[in-house]
Structure formats: structure tokens, C-alpha cells
């Protein structure tokens, strides 16, 4: 029974199926609203599902220069890591794995999909992919600094003078004391997190790694068919995971205790966050250069996060 529950958690909710569906929904909404912001009609909301299914039906070509195992394994590894990540993040009140989540673990689990993309792209032996992975890696270096500052600030706020990296503890603290976003010292951290999300997901203006117009989708250039579908799905799932992480870190106080209602609230929150930090920014900006992206994250965003860390440390 216990194992059945774990299996359910991994495969259906909040794992595989739920996170996949949420990812597709969020990216569908993102595309639709983006189109509307540009005064277009836009694709139907289920367009990402069509894309996914279509790619499954396409032939998968493994280039001669590629290392077959690595090339085909990379997307699946990324996908599995994302599913595990999703299962770790509490859905407001509902925690699939009681007390098991840990901020550092999350930090590293979140790098796996990016690394999978990098290794997969790299193994294809394409020079465009080479440039793409370089950019992907620099992007990763850019957002990792603010992200860890945010995590530490939250951990300090919740833990006080004890070590607290557990998401469950953070959720419990918020249910007792209200959402962390209401806390002045964590406002800069929340703002920084909102800016980290698009870079982590890789939406414009931070999609330098997959700039399809200049480096032909970078690491994905040689991918086709099902592996490409999985990579696209990974990107969509990251949308859900990052927004869910935001709500777990800063909006945990909204939990009502009724699981169904919590899930609904979570879905709405994720949609709202997607619209705020991905769609709107996408609609009003153009793609950055990679060196500017790095500078932006290590000055503005990291500055916000570090400010928050210092404020929390000073006891605000």
C-alpha cells in the first residue's frame, strides 16, 4: 500500500502526469496570452500538447557524430530529474513526501535538466550546439548565485538560529506565521526569484542558449522526434516547477488545508506567476546578449537577493 502510494505520487500526482499536464497547460497559456499581448489571436491553449504528440510521431534521427547512448539518454535523464523535483515540492498544503524536501537537493536537482540539455547538445557534435551549451552554462552560472542567496535568506528567516533547509519546515512556518512574501526583508528575495524563474526556464529575454534565430536552437539543433518532444516537455515542466517553488517558498500561507482546494489555488498561483514573470517580460523585451545576461544577474538580481540575505540576518 505504501509503495502503491509512492508510485501514485511519482506517476500521477504530484509527479509525472500532473506536472506534465501542468507544464503543458502553463506553456499553452503563456503562448496564448503572449499572443494576445502582441495583439494576435495566438494558438489554442492545448497547442503544446499538439506539439508534443506531433514530435512523438516524427522520426528520430541520431546523427553520425553523436554518441547514441548519451544523445538519447540525456532528455530522459532530464525528465526523470524534473519529475523527482516536482514530487519534492509541496503543493501548498499537500506534501507527497513528508519532510523529505531539501533546498540544496532542489538546487542540484534543478541543475540536472540543464546539464542533461548541455550534455545531450554537446554529444551531437554540432558547432552551433557548442555555442548553445556555452550560453546555457553561463546562464546557469548567472542565476545560481541569486538562487542560493534567496534560498539561504528564506532558510535563515524560517530557521532562525537553527539549520533549516527543509521545505516542509518552511511550509509549516508559513502556515503558522503567514506567507513569507509579507515579510519586508524577503521582498527583494521574492523579486529576485521572479527574475530567476525566466532564466531557469529559458524564456525570452533569457533564452540566449536556444536562440533559434541566431544559433538555430543551440543544444537542440540535432534533436528530432521523441527526444526533442521530451526536451520541450522538460522546458514546460520547468515552468510549473519554478512557479510552484516560488509559491512554496513565499506563498505557503495561502494553504487552506483542503487538498483539492489547495491544488486549485496552486494551479491558479502558477498561472498568475507564469503570466507575471514569463509572459509579460517576454512580451516587452528583446533577447539579451549573453554577457549582459550574466552581468544583469550578478549585479541586479544577485544584489537584490544578497540585500535580502543581509536584511534577514539583521533581523528585519
Amino acid at each position: 500500500m505504501e509503495y502503491l502510494k509512492i508510485l501514485f505520487n511519482i506517476l500521477v500526482f504530484p509527479g509525472c502526469l500532473f506536472v506534465g499536464a501542468m507544464g503543458l497547460l502553463l506553456s499553452g497559456i503563456d503562448r496564448k496570452v503572449l499572443a494576445r499581448m502582441q495583439k494576435r489571436v495566438g494558438p489554442p491553449i492545448i497547442q503544446p500538447l499538439y506539439d508534443f504528440l506531433k514530435l512523438l510521431g516524427k522520426e528520430t534521427i541520431v546523427p553520425k557524430a553523436a554518441n547514441r547512448k548519451v544523445f538519447l539518454g540525456a532528455p530522459v535523464v532530464g525528465f526523470a530529474a524534473l519529475v523527482v523535483t516536482a514530487a519534492l515540492i509541496p503543493v501548498l498544503g499537500y506534501r507527497a513526501f513528508e519532510g523529505s524536501a531539501d533546498l540544496i537537493v532542489l538546487l542540484y536537482l534543478l541543475t540536472i535538466p540543464a546539464v542533461a540539455l548541455i550534455i545531450g547538445g554537446s554529444s551531437s557534435g554540432n558547432p552551433y550546439a557548442g555555442i548553445g551549451i556555452s550560453r546555457e552554462m553561463v546562464t546557469m552560472m548567472s542565476y545560481e548565485l541569486p538562487l542560493i542567496c534567496i534560498f539561504l535568506a528564506v532558510a535563515k528567516k524560517v530557521g532562525g538560529s537553527t539549520l533549516c533547509f527543509s521545505l516542509s519546515q518552511i511550509a509549516a512556518y508559513q502556515q503558522a506565521n503567514g506567507s513569507l512574501i509579507g515579510c519586508v526583508s524577503l521582498l527583494p528575495a521574492a523579486a529576485a526569484m521572479l527574475l530567476v524563474i525566466p532564466a531557469e526556464v529559458g524564456t525570452q529575454p533569457f533564452d540566449v542558449a536556444e536562440a533559434e534565430t541566431e544559433i538555430l536552437e543551440g543544444p537542440l539543433i540535432e534533436y528530432s522526434g521523441a527526444p526533442l518532444a521530451v526536451f520541450k516537455l522538460n522546458t514546460s515542466m520547468k515552468m510549473y516547477i519554478m512557479t510552484a517553488l516560488f509559491s512554496a517558498l513565499f506563498l505557503g500561507g495561502l494553504a487552506t488545508g483542503v487538498t483539492a482546494l489547495d491544488v486549485l489555488i496552486q494551479v491558479l498561483l502558477c498561472i498568475a506567476l507564469t503570466l507575471i514573470c514569463m509572459t509579460t517580460i517576454h512580451a516587452v523585451t528583446a533577447r539579451l546578449k549573453i554577457e549582459h545576461l550574466f552581468k544583469f544577474y550578478w549585479t541586479v538580481v544577485a544584489g537584490l537577493a544578497a540585500l535580502s540575505l543581509v536584511l534577514v540576518w539583521l533581523g528585519f
Binding site: 494576445r36 495583439k39 494576435r40 512580451a283 516587452v284
Partner: protein
């Protein structure tokens, strides 16, 4: 401001999209649009000017001899056309026009070829130049088949009837209106000036169509009766009777 478009983006969110609902609501092209070529073979005089002026050589024609004339087919290859409209401009008879139909796509390339056929009867006489020609050469210059040769120096005008396609372009271009397709005059027995009015022909005529009056020195023939057997020509002592065009 760092993000100049944010206001617009949010405003757009609440306004109607400016997208045309195209396949559902067909759109008419703006006036002056040059789309699919329409060819009216009935109007066409087969002058070939369109072929001559077409820069991508998109227009071709075929001839085929059939009973009662010639089958002329024009092909307008839309996959080769630049839609410049020159053929339309040059067509005297307005047989070629560019419509506003822009939906030109097909799975088979053949579907994108506009063709028209008509059968041209063999009617006209040969091109002739009457008196009054000033040897300006306009006819030669406008002849699509280069069948006409005009030499101003020697004041000569000639036509190669094998080349002539009888399009009539030269006739319309002629400033003195002296060119024409000469109708082939009906043939019949005619009497020349050497006639001595001997009456042998009248005697020989099997149908009695010829009347000779020595007194008034007149020779006449009833064309209705004549069967053009040629006996009179054979019998004429002065060899002045012949078959020839009747005036």
C-alpha cells in the same frame, strides 16, 4: 522607461486582436493587385505579343492543324510568371488580363498553368499591300513572326506568306491603311484584249454560257451557267481566254 512596451502589451490584452480571420473570412485583394492570369481565347488574335514581352518566358503557345483551320493553344505558366502585367498592357485585344485572385497554389504544378484554346479557320487571303505605301516599316517592326520585309531604299515591300500567321497586327499598325488581306477573287473564265470576237468559244461551250456579238464587239459570260470546263479556253484561236480572278 526601461520597458517602453509594457503599457501597450497590457492594453493589447484587453483589446481585440488585429488578426484577420483569413480562411474563414475570405479577403479581397486591394485594387490594382495582379493575380491569376485570365485568358480569353475568343478575343485573342494570336498576335503573340504577350509571348514576346514576357520576361520570364512564362507564356507559350501551340499550333495544331485540324480540320477547318488551326487549333491555337496559349499556356500561361503561373509558376513562372512574375505578374508584371506587361502581357496585359501589350494585348491589343484585352484578351489577357490579370485578375485579383491571389489563391494560387496547387499540389501539381500543372494546376497552375492557365490555358486557352481556339480554332482559327483558314479564311483570309494573303497579305497584300495596296498602293499608297510609304515604306515606313511599321508593319515589319510589329510583325511577331518577322514575315514582312520592307526596304525603304529600293521602295520594296514583301511578305513571306509561309511565315505569316495572319494575325493582322500589321494591318492595324499601318498608318496609311494600305495593308489588307486580299480576298481571293473568285476564279472564272475571263477574256483578254486580243479577242477577235470569232465566237468559237460560244460554239464550243457545252452549256451555252458565253455570248459573243461581233457587231458590237462584246464578249460576255453567264457565270451562273459556267461550269468551268475549260473547253472555251482550249478552243480560243487567239489564246486570249484564261482562268483568272473575276473583278
Amino acid at each position: 522607461m526601461m520597458f517602453p512596451f509594457i503599457k501597450e502589451a497590457v492594453a493589447n490584452l484587453f483589446s481585440r486582436p488585429s488578426t484577420e480571420n483569413f480562411p474563414a473570412q475570405p479577403v479581397t485583394a486591394k485594387p490594382g493587385y495582379r493575380g491569376r492570369i485570365n485568358y480569353d481565347p475568343e478575343k485573342c488574335i494570336n498576335c503573340g505579343m504577350c509571348i514576346k514581352v514576357c520576361s520570364p518566358a512564362a507564356i507559350t503557345r501551340e499550333f495544331e492543324d485540324v480540320e477547318g483551320g488551326q487549333k491555337i493553344t496559349y499556356h500561361f505558366d503561373l509558376t513562372s510568371c512574375t505578374f508584371c502585367g506587361t502581357c496585359q498592357d501589350f494585348c491589343e485585344e484585352k484578351a489577357v488580363t490579370l485578375s485579383d485572385d491571389y489563391l494560387m497554389f496547387a499540389e501539381n504544378k500543372e494546376d497552375l498553368i492557365v490555358s486557352g484554346t481556339r480554332i482559327k479557320e483558314k479564311v483570309k487571303g494573303k497579305l497584300t499591300c495596296a498602293d499608297g505605301c510609304i515604306y515606313c516599316g511599321l508593319c515589319a517592326r510589329n510583325c511577331p513572326e518577322n514575315a514582312i520585309t520592307v526596304d525603304r531604299a529600293s521602295k520594296s515591300w514583301s511578305v513571306d506568306h509561309d511565315k505569316c500567321i495572319q494575325c493582322g497586327k500589321c494591318i492595324s499598325k499601318c498608318p496609311k491603311k494600305v495593308l489588307s488581306f486580299a480576298e481571293p477573287a473568285p476564279e472564272g473564265v475571263i477574256c483578254g484584249s486580243d479577242c477577235v470576237f470569232c465566237g468559237l468559244c460560244a460554239k464550243k461551250c457545252p452549256v451555252g454560257a458565253i455570248t459573243v456579238d461581233r457587231a458590237t464587239k462584246s464578249w460576255s459570260i453567264d457565270r451562273e451557267k459556267c461550269v468551268q470546263c475549260g473547253l472555251c479556253i482550249k478552243s480560243c484561236p487567239k489564246k486570249t481566254l484564261s482562268m483568272g480572278p473575276i473583278e
